[in-house]
């Protein structure tokens, strides 16, 4: 591994100051992705500022009924938290669909948002990659792109965001709280991750030297009708080819609220608000679900090896919405 310095500040203020002042400094969370990227010579920090002792390890019920999850609460602790299980089971199911028990014990809430793509070309320093070295090109477009994006791609990058947790957070309209040189600010989840455009090296709207301090869930109860469906080559411990987070509220048999977000299909968790609006007022029938699924994939574009994802995503959306009616984990 490359050499680097290491600090372990006790306060957020010190952590922010160190990352701002030390050239090449980078925050270290659970390390499940960053340590791997350092070994692969993809990430080359000069100093790691370990957030592991910062007081960001609480899950707090908010006065308005929402839930605030500290940035360094582990993925396992969130998934098995009683209040998450009761009020946000969609989030618990999405987290448990990802990674392995060991990794979930290590990985943090903030770190999950910041994990990098698992595009093979991004991970191979011997080949060009616009995300790793801007301006060098994207071999994935003409390469082995079975796992790559079908929505929101650009000519510069067709990588996907790998998180399951973030798909649920998108559907649940979470808010990301950050602190940085300009003070604290809150970022709506839909604006946190970004599409590649001309700058695929930027995964998120987080600014330099900003630290995620918490993720906040609004006080909305989708526990009665939700589903997280993950389709993958292996039934466990594999990244999604396509995943769908669906959440509904029904009144007198009709859909009165709807959330729909997809994973494995884009550079960010792909929440489709137009599709959600189409569901409102409708009866929860297969015909409606198929119509909405087709709408979500209207702008989809496949590459040599991943055209199958378009039809897969359509069917997964229908299955997830159908499953949400009974809140089946994997319909």
């Amino acid at each position: 591994m490359n050499r680097f310095g290491y600090t372990r500040p006790e306060t957020v203020a010190t952590a922010l100051e160190q990352v701002r002042e030390i050239p090449g400094a980078q925050f270290l969370g659970g390390g499940t992705n960053l340590v791997d990227l350092i070994k692969e010579n993809i990430a080359r920090p000069n100093v790691l500022v370990d957030v592991g002792r910062l007081p960001l390890d609480q899950v707090v019920r908010l006065p308005g009924g929402g839930l605030r999850i500290g940035a360094r609460v582990s993925n396992a602790a969130v998934a098995y938290h009683p209040e998450v299980g009761r009020d946000y089971p969609l989030l618990a199911k999405a987290i448990l669909a990802g990674a392995s028990p060991q990794l979930r014990n290590m990985a943090t809430t903030g770190g999950n948002l910041l994990q990098r793509t698992r595009c093979y070309y991004f991970y191979d320093p011997a080949v060009p990659c616009n995300k790793r070295v801007p301006g060098t090109g994207c071999p994935a477009k003409e390469g082995f792109n079975r796992i790559h994006a079908i929505l929101g791609t650009s000519e510069h990058c067709i990588a996907v965001h790998p998180s399951d947790m973030c798909v649920a957070l998108a559907a649940l309209k979470a808010t990301v709280h950050v602190e940085g040189p300009d003070g604290p600010r809150s970022i709506p989840f839909a604006e946190f991750h970004r599409l590649p455009g001309d700058t695929p090296e930027q995964d998120s709207s987080l600014r330099p030297a900003e630290l995620i301090t918490a993720v906040e869930l609004p006080a909305e109860d989708f526990s009665a009708h939700h589903a997280y469906l993950k389709v993958r080559d292996r039934d466990s411990y594999a990244f999604a080819l396509v995943s769908v987070a669906a959440a509904l509220k029904l009144t007198a048999g009709r859909i009165t609220q709807a959330r729909l977000a997809l994973g494995g299909v884009a550079h960010k968790p792909w929440r489709d608000e137009t599709a959600e609006a189409l569901l409102l007022g409708q009866l929860p029938t297969d015909a409606v679900f198929k119509f909405v699924a087709a709408h979500v994939l209207l702008t989809a574009q496949g590459f040599q090896n991943n055209h199958f994802k378009i039809e897969l995503a359509r069917r997964a959306i229908v299955r997830a919405l159908r499953g949400a009616l009974t809140s089946e984990a994997q319909p």
Binding site: Q18, G31, S100, P101, Q102, L103
Partner: protein
């Protein structure tokens, strides 16, 4: 730690490994796995993929199962680590005995990780059915394909070991 350049220098830390306190000076880029194997000669913990994908390096950190290959040792200052060397005592732990009795290994390379992982699984208490045990052991790969007997061994141990409070 107050140097403005924060040079890449070795750092003092304390780890309690299998009940023994170690005062160590470790370079920041040393993984817990390499520390255990190369510095402390605790070679029971195996290096498989070194990428967090195979689970051979699984140890318990403050009671939680983790991939030691992705942990920087310096980040665990003050932690209690249990490796396969610390699982049994004078005699085998019931889980180790179950692995022997159920023939839950062939080459044995993944076994220390399997056992540490299964200890974590038993402590977590989320696995009851066969499918739940399979799912929650999915972070440990076995190239010999001993999975059916690993499942049997874990079930046998779960039936004999009293669940920790």
């Amino acid at each position: 730690m107050n140097s403005p350049s924060f040079p890449a220098i070795a750092i003092d830390l304390q780890l309690t490994i299998n009940g023994v306190v170690h005062q160590l000076t470790v370079e920041p880029w040393t993984t817990l796995l390499d520390l255990l194997r190369d510095r402390l000669a605790l070679t029971g913990t195996k290096k498989g993929c070194d990428q967090g994908q195979c689970g051979a390096c699984t140890v318990l950190v403050d009671g939680h199962r983790m991939n030691s290959c992705l942990i920087l040792a310096v980040s665990k200052d003050g932690a209690e680590i249990t490796t396969i060397e610390g699982v049994g005592g004078e005699s085998l732990h019931p889980l180790q005995r179950a692995f022997v009795e159920c023939d839950a290994l062939q080459c044995g390379y993944c076994t220390p990780g399997q056992i540490c992982s299964a200890l974590g699984l038993m402590k977590e208490g989320h696995a009851r059915t066969d499918d739940e045990i399979r799912e929650l052991m999915s972070g440990n790969l076995c190239r010999c394909g001993a999975y059916p007997n690993i499942l049997t061994a874990i079930k046998q141990a779960m039936a004999t070991v009293e669940k920790p409070a």
